[in-house]
């Protein structure tokens, strides 16, 4: 008998007999309804408490804000999505305030060393956010691959204020995640961190040292 069948058989022939199935009451996850402004405030407060940075912008001024943030950090380049509106707008802006714009349009193995060693910052879209935990929802795509938000030392995420949910549960229900999950779905809640050395917090241990959220209101 295969290990699979042996394990399943042992579980099915449980000596204690059938187990009762308890009810699960999810109402504890319900939150009182809130306004967009309240959710933005809560999101900002929570993500800032874990070292994330939030800048509130409009669809008119976000590029200027972005350029300031990048130049204050001396970023030499910015990895942008090729097809997404964010990338297109940045490339069309033709601003000399912005650093060199790069695109992730080849499989990782052909430019891995360059991505790991030479890219200073990246910008990606989000599928919304979660106010209670200060989280960004990201479903990486061929246009915004997984490593885009992980490898560069500075990650900038664009979040539409109207797409903020109260809780993770609300977000997954509203967007009907159970109907089909992507290869990779992520909640990102701050920059990479560790407290493994005597509980002292240090940032950027493997992923980005800085997470900057541009909230478009």
């Amino acid at each position: 008998m295969s290990s699979r069948d042996a394990i399943l058989q042992r579980l099915r022939n449980r000596s204690g007999g059938e187990l009762a199935i308890p009810d699960c009451d999810f109402s504890v996850l319900q939150r009182p309804s809130s306004s967009v402004a309240e959710r933005v405030d809560q999101f900002q407060k929570t993500i800032e408490s874990v070292h994330g940075e939030v800048h509130r912008c409009t669809s008119e001024n976000w590029i200027t804000q972005l350029a300031d943030l990048l130049s204050s950090r001396g970023a030499r380049n910015l990895l942008v999505p090729a097809a997404h509106q964010i990338g297109r707008t940045l490339r069309d802006a033709d601003s000399n305030e912005l650093p060199e714009l790069l695109i992730y349009d080849e499989p990782i193995h052909s430019w891995q060393a360059q991505l790991f060693n030479e890219v200073d910052a990246s910008i990606t879209s989000t599928r919304g956010g979660i106010a209670e935990t200060g989280s960004l929802i990201m479903w990486p795509t061929p246009d915004e691959p997984r490593l885009m938000s992980l490898v560069p030392p500075i990650h900038i995420a664009v979040l539409e204020a109207s797409e903020l949910y109260s809780t993770f549960h609300e977000a997954m229900q509203d967007q009907n995640w159970a109907a089909g999950m992507p290869t990779n779905a992520l909640l990102v809640s701050g920059p990479s961190k560790t407290a493994d050395i005597e509980q002292t917090l240090a940032y950027g241990v493997h992923g980005p040292k800085e997470l900057i959220v541009l909230v478009i209101e």
Binding site: L11, E18, V28, L29, R146, L150, T183, S192, I197
Partner: protein, 478 residues
């Protein structure tokens, strides 16, 4: 005896007492753990502020119970869904078989280097050791695990593996093993490790990770982490192998939300970890990164035995947050290594006897004051103290009519102790004998020895009263 320098693969779990004695007299261990655990207790409390914690724990417990009630069906559903998504599922009855499966995948890919995200099941399997012996390098990438591996040790806490070391010790270790400068600057040490490990990620052939929740409904593997090493491990190498215990499956995607809320708050007092990584398949044709191959190894290793008994089954609800150890007065005093087991602290004391048998793990259920803190903080309401008592009974039970439920059943039973208790129960069932016996003991109290073995090492001996309770009651005329 220095517990840290022992070969971690040859620890005799039975030698708990000498290790405990050594740990208690080491002020550094006590300081490191006390400081860390106090911090975690406060942070946990703050993180649940304003939430209906009891209702949330109730939901967490019920979700885990529901998953266990449907366990075989859910495992089959998980396998089906994962296969549809392109993830290959393997089954292992024990740690050795799981190690062989991982190695065979490596051999088929001609893989020489494995990079690992944190996985307690892989510690349980002793995977690193197994692979190293067969010429495959396995490198830990979680900073705490990396430190512990540099030192040639095992984790002393399931969430914070290197909690037993302070900054000075880590600096010295990294200086000696990797050549970094001596420094008490945690940022410098962390940045050095980042640099060292980035090279390794780029060159690794296989990434091995654990799993926090496996969702049957969608075929999704969920990983909780702060550092980003888990995302690196599951994204950069061309092959990802996840290993997990068969009990980690949950039915619906929705179940993940409350369990995640409980897990991170209970573990480290965080509302959520930096990354919550949900993997549902290998890289698709049009995608530019991610592994070409994803495997899941489902490990039984004694879990299906625990599953047989209605009471012991509760052990399998565990979501591995570590809150029970953070709140345990014994764990805080003796540290994680003293237990000599993969899982230390209260959860280790109720889980390990099943994995290694009550013979080997005989001292584990008694290494507790039964204060109940572990059960009170458990996010899925595992009645840990009750299970400790149950395992104590199992370890001394000699009743032939009581079928053994745990391997090593009756291992701690001694003939003298059994005889004493037999006499005790015989006397207590006979009021006349009882009165005579206690009256005799009161008369002979002068003969009572002042030293009572281990008991009087730290306490004064209890003195028998001059008169029995019955005599005094009689005097009062009642």
């Amino acid at each position: 005896m220095n517990q840290a320098t022992q070969d971690p693969h040859h620890i005799d779990v039975k030698e708990f007492h000498p290790r405990a004695r050594a740990a208690i007299s080491d002020p550094k261990i006590r300081q490191n753990f006390r400081k860390a655990m106090d911090g975690l207790i406060t942070k946990r409390k703050d993180a649940f502020e304003g939430m209906d914690l009891e209702a949330l724990r109730e939901l967490g417990a019920n979700i885990r119970l529901r998953a266990l009630a449907n366990l075989p069906d859910l495992l089959e559903q998980l396998e089906k869904k994962l296969s549809e998504n392109g993830i290959k599922v393997h089954w292992a009855t024990d740690g050795d078989e799981a190690c062989r499966i991982v190695r065979n995948i490596c051999v088929a890919r001609n893989a020489k280097t494995v990079i690992k995200g944190k996985s307690m099941v892989s510690e349980e399997m002793e995977l690193n050791h197994y692979l190293e012996e067969r010429g495959i390098t396995a490198l830990e990438s979680d900073l705490g695990e990396y430190i512990v591996q540099l030192a040639g040790e095992t984790p002393s806490h399931i969430i914070m593996p290197a909690i037993h070391k302070n900054t000075g010790e880590i600096s010295e270790l990294m200086h000696q093993t990797t050549g970094t400068d001596l420094s008490n600057d945690v940022e410098y040490l962390t940045a050095s490790a980042r640099q060292q490990l980035r090279e390794k990620f780029m060159n690794a052939d296989v990434g091995v990770s654990g799993v926090n929740f496996a969702v049957a409904e969608t075929g999704t593997l969920c990983l909780v982490e702060n550092e980003g090493n888990g995302r690196m491990t599951t994204t950069v190498p061309p092959c990802h192998i996840a290993v997990t215990g068969i009990e980690k499956v949950v039915g619906n995607l929705e179940d993940v939300a409350p369990l995640l809320a409980l897990l991170t708050r209970s573990a480290t007092g965080q509302h959520i970890t930096t990354y919550f990584n949900m993997i549902s398949g290998p890289r698709k044709l049009e995608e530019l990164d991610g592994p070409e191959e994803v495997h899941l190894v489902l490990v039984d290793n004694g879990r299906s035995s625990i599953y047989q008994d209605d009471e012991l089954l509760d052990t399998l609800r565990c979501i591995r947050c570590g809150a029970c150890m953070n709140h345990c007065p014994v764990y805080t005093r003796v540290g994680g290594h003293t237990y000599g087991t993969t899982y230390p602290g209260p959860i280790g004391k109720i889980l390990m006897p099943h994995l290694i048998g009550l013979d080997e793990g005989r001292h584990l259920p008694t290494a507790s004051s039964l204060c109940g803190a572990c059960g009170e903080v458990c996010p899925v309401k595992i009645p840990i103290p009750d299970l400790l008592v149950r395992l104590r009974q199992e370890s001394v039970d000699g009743d032939k009519l009581n079928p053994a439920k745990v391997r090593g059943h009756g291992a701690k039973r001694g003939s003298v102790e059994a005889l004493v208790w037999k006499g005790w129960s015989w006397m207590h069932a006979r009021p006349g004998v009882y009165r005579f016996g206690t009256a005799l003991a009161a008369r002979l109290r002068k003969l009572q020895p002042g030293q009572l073995g281990g008991w009087t090492e730290y306490r004064t001996a209890p003195k028998l009263a001059a008169k029995t309770l019955h005599e005094r009651m009689k005097e009062r005329g009642q």
